[in-house]
Subunit: 258 residues, 2 copies
């Protein structure tokens, strides 16, 4: 549909980052960027785009959302792309064999909105066109967003998925007097842990579990590590709590070493 | 996003017809058909598609929504395409110099839903990619739908516009018999831990932390215990995860004892 009027001011608050993991076609990245800007989202992060970056097809397909494309940041891994974020959502079209909180786009938009208003940083992960996100990407997230669609034909075009979630964000922004419960009330002197701090916690724990023999069955190790990360991730830990947990791990193993 | 499961039954009630007026690219018609079926809509009507019909590009871009493409009906004029419909909406991205009722996609979905339940027939008009609907098309409609988007970048991809409206229709359909999300998606073989299991986990951990000296400052102990319980509590642990955590604690301290 036509109708852009660039004389109209729109000063979006810094919305969630859109993180496309191993997107395949530049055209799809471009259409996703267009969908983002339709919804007032401007921060695009790309994890290992298959056809490299920059990508001329992406710019063309963005249909004028050049600012989104030109400011896109590229990362090698999903972990790198979310390292500075405190609240991360993952999008999936089908239930996974993992224990995760599953929410709708409008619930996610509400949570992200409240979180950003309190100074937090958030992002949403989208998987590659053909296969979606891997479980190893999903464990980086705090909750899963499932877009309610026809269960007999649920495969969404990438830009469509971005729009489905971005549009709820835009509506939540537009009606920003709305408020709801369910946010984490948190002492003033702390803040949500970012993903880099969580990563160091996980590595610390896994190192000790390797040393203690808990992870000694090689073929089971990846699944066990994923499950442990997943359950701790879900707790929505603060930076202070991450330090407490690291203190606990150190304390439990220390006398062993002495 | 991946995830279509064709074993899942979905018997949509006959939703609104999607009427694409003078669509230009077959690819856009195909992507619109895919978006329709994502939302459980199956009735596609085409008014003078520029590149003729049938169109191979449309079938390819529909990504499996063949049934929508193959059953599309073609009309010479917008008037012909809406002749049998009783309630017609027109989509525009910008206000027109016409006196029309303007509603949101979710309002339109609600109205269409009630209307169809009473045996009525409805449809939604979408204009050509570059220019939108002509005023002569809009006068065929009972109300105008405007999708709320960034006013500084409001030009929606055709399939995106179809999805924005179809998705509200789908949600209105689904909410008639479905409860809200926010449940924990969980592997079948486990269940949420009960409070007794959590209590045993907490006592196990605190016993070891007393032994290791982590909780040795007596006046701080109650607050620390509360904080630790609080963060683990928040994770919504399953019974299996409680066992994993107890295994981790045992593993971390075991060699110390030996």
């Amino acid at each position: 549909m036509a109708g852009t009027d660039s004389t109209k001011p729109f000063a979006p608050s810094p919305g969630p980052a859109v993180i496309l993991v191993e997107a395949q076609l530049g055209e799809n990245i471009g259409m996703a960027a267009r969908a983002m800007l339709n919804c007032g989202l401007t921060e695009l992060r790309l994890v290992s785009p298959r056809d490299g970056w920059p990508n001329e097809d992406a710019l063309t397909a963005s249909a004028g959302a050049d600012t989104v494309i030109n400011n896109a940041q590229v990362f090698d891994t999903t972990a790198d792309a979310v390292a500075d974020l405190q609240l991360v959502f993952a999008t999936t079209a089908r239930p996974r064999d993992m224990t995760n909180r599953v929410i709708t786009p409008s619930q996610a938009a509400g949570e992200a909105h409240r979180f950003i208003n309190e100074g937090g940083s958030t992002g949403v992960l989208f998987g590659r066109e053909s296969k979606g996100l891997k479980n190893d990407d999903i464990v980086q997230s705090d909750a899963i967003i499932m877009v309610p669609v026809n269960p007999a034909f649920s495969s969404l075009n990438l830009a469509q998925a971005v729009f489905a979630i971005g549009h709820e964000w835009f509506k939540a922004e537009a009606s920003s007097d709305e408020k709801a419960a369910d946010d984490l009330s948190m002492p003033k002197e702390t803040r949500p842990a970012n993903k880099a701090e969580l990563e160091r916690l996980f590595e610390h724990l896994e190192e000790e579990l390797d040393a203690s023999g808990f992870l000694h069955v090689a073929e089971k190790r990846p699944g066990m590590v994923r499950n442990i990360r997943n359950m701790l991730q879900r707790a929505g830990l603060t930076e202070q709590e991450v330090r407490t947990l690291r203190g606990i791990i150190t304390s439990l193993v220390t006398k062993r070493r002495q």
